[in-house]
């Protein structure tokens, strides 16, 4: 009789313990499967940061799935087996609490989240993508280019990344300008992020990295791409009317191909670069300027390589 009515104190509820053990095992197995699958939920990993982020993510999915399945499984079990019969108006077991149990379920989550926090800080420090930030005087005439170079750890760069409402411009150390970002593989590239108007976000999902660009400051940022290919690079911080169109690609090339591209581009004349918002705004004006107010898009930057807007990207 004692084994069928679960009581926190009293005799050894062997059957209950067995059920709990079996359920925990099942939960653990399922969570493991989910964690395995979870790497497939992310775009292809294309930078040195990606494996770290993905592993942390996988760990969290595993733990999270275990907790979620455990708790919801318990709710389901309670609903199935602790239902009141129809017309049963009686009360349940008047258990008011159990201090030991409560301390246990305070401590276990504490330990789990501290492990996660430790991991997160560790990964964050390993990546050290974010370098120093320097404010400059917009009105005093000094422009981002003349701010002293901020980050010494780099194999390549600094590349000036200039964001506007709504286009991107990349200026390489040799003066080449482009609308798509070209990067040599396996080189730690340093960027000097700056904005000419509002806050934008520099985001490459395949790299797992994102950094807001703050007008009035130059932010030093470094990335090491590890996989050749063409990936989405986009504005991730809402920047006004044509925010959704403010995207381009990053092209990761072998070091030889990159050098060749750089040389070729240097010989190209300057042409208007990628700026889908310009076209959309024209269309809007030609349709009678309907819709709600917006600032005018900045003119397309003049670049040596305007890129291939419709090329398929991998992620």
């Amino acid at each position: 009789m004692t084994s069928t009515t679960p009581r926190p104190s009293g005799g050894l509820p062997v059957r209950l313990l067995l059920i709990v053990l079996a359920a925990t095992l099942l939960d653990a197995l399922a969570s493991l499967q989910i964690a395995r699958a979870s790497l497939g939920w992310l775009p292809v990993p294309a930078s040195t940061a990606a494996p770290y982020v993905d592993q942390l993510f996988q760990l969290e999915v595993g733990i999270g799935a275990f907790i979620f399945l455990g708790c919801s499984g318990f709710v389901l079990w309670a609903v199935l087996f602790n239902r009141a019969e129809k017309y049963d108006e009686s009360d349940g077991l008047p258990i008011e609490g159990n201090t030991k149990l409560e301390i246990t379920w305070t401590l276990i989550p504490f330990v789990i989240v501290m492990v996660l926090a430790y991991q997160a800080i560790h990964v964050s420090e390993t990546l050290s993508a974010l370098g120093p930030k320097a404010k400059y005087d917009l009105e005093g005439g000094s422009n981002p280019v003349s701010v002293e170079q901020l980050d010494p750890i780099r194999n390549y760069g600094p590349i000036q990344v200039i964001s506007r409402q709504w286009n991107w411009e990349f200026i390489y150390p040799n003066g080449v300008r482009s609308s798509e970002l070209h990067l040599p593989i396996d080189q730690r590239a340093n960027f000097q992020l700056s904005s000419e108007d509002v806050i934008h976000g520099f985001y490459v999902p395949a790299f797992r990295l994102k950094q807001d660009i703050i007008p009035g400051s130059v932010i030093s940022y470094s990335i090491t791409p590890t996989r050749e290919g063409r990936y989405r690079l986009r504005d991730s911080q809402f920047s006004g009317a044509y925010f959704s169109q403010n995207q381009t690609d990053v092209v990761v090339q072998s070091q030889e191909a990159f050098a060749a591209w750089l040389e070729q581009a240097a010989r190209n004349p300057l042409v208007p670069g990628l700026s889908p918002a310009t076209q959309l705004y024209q269309d809007r004006l030609s349709k009678g300027d309907k819709g709600w107010a917006t600032v005018k898009p900045a003119p397309p930057p003049l670049v040596n390589d305007p890129g291939i807007p419709d090329a398929p990207h991998e992620a």
Binding site: K135, Y136, D137, E139, G140
Partner: protein, 201 residues
């Protein structure tokens, strides 16, 4: 169940809850909350002052401190006057209360006047960069509180003339003088942040 007696009503003791007199509690809670706005402005001010690439607008050397200092002394001492006014009220000396209360109001008014004089002589405006903006925002927002305080005090003064109104003590006076001390402490912090701490580069 412990009681099944049908004559319950006989031994039933009705409980009662106080309906009023929560004003001071409510007011103190409100003041604590209000102080956070100032805290927000102060920390914003400090952050901007430390990090802005340019602090003083062109042609501004810094702030004159003599007039504000006089102002500060007047405002801070008015807090003591208000305290003694309250003491008189406790001792049921209504005329003593009224006299000192009026003096507090006069000192507060002098402070506002001093601010006005200072503002009208400054060579920069609200739109002179972060320096101008924060200066006028902080002193202006504080000034509004001083004016509110004076208005509340005149309300209390008026109520002291209602017959028997203050016979059982008056929470309103306690609350207003609390408010006045609060405005005072805010000013001291503000004075240190704006006038004592100078950033020249």
């Amino acid at each position: 169940m412990t009681t099944t007696n049908p004559d319950l009503q006989l031994n039933h003791r009705p409980g009662h809850i106080k309906h009023d007199g929560h004003n001071l509690t409510g007011f103190i809670i409100f003041l604590c909350s209000e102080s956070i706005i100032f805290l927000a402005f102060f920390s914003g001010f400090a952050l901007l002052k430390i990090t802005a690439p340019e602090w003083l607008p062109e042609g501004v050397e810094g702030l004159e401190t003599r007039l504000p200092l006089i102002n500060t002394v007047v405002l801070v001492s008015s807090s003591f006057v208000a305290y003694f006014a309250e003491r008189y009220l406790h001792k049921e000396n209504l005329w003593g209360f009224r006299a000192l209360w009026l003096l507090t109001m006069a000192m507060g008014t002098y402070f506002v006047y001093g601010q006005y004089v200072e503002w009208s002589e400054l060579p920069f405006s609200l739109s002179s960069g972060v320096f101008g903006g924060t200066f006028y925002l902080l002193t202006g927002f504080h000034g509004l509180h001083v004016i509110t305080g004076i208005l509340l005090m005149s309300l209390m003064l008026y109520r002291s003339f209602l017959p028997n109104n203050y016979a059982k003590g008056e929470m309103g006076v306690t609350a207003v003088s609390l408010f006045w001390h609060f405005v005072d402490v805010i000013w001291i912090i503000l004075y240190i942040l704006i006038y004592v701490w100078q950033r020249t580069t």
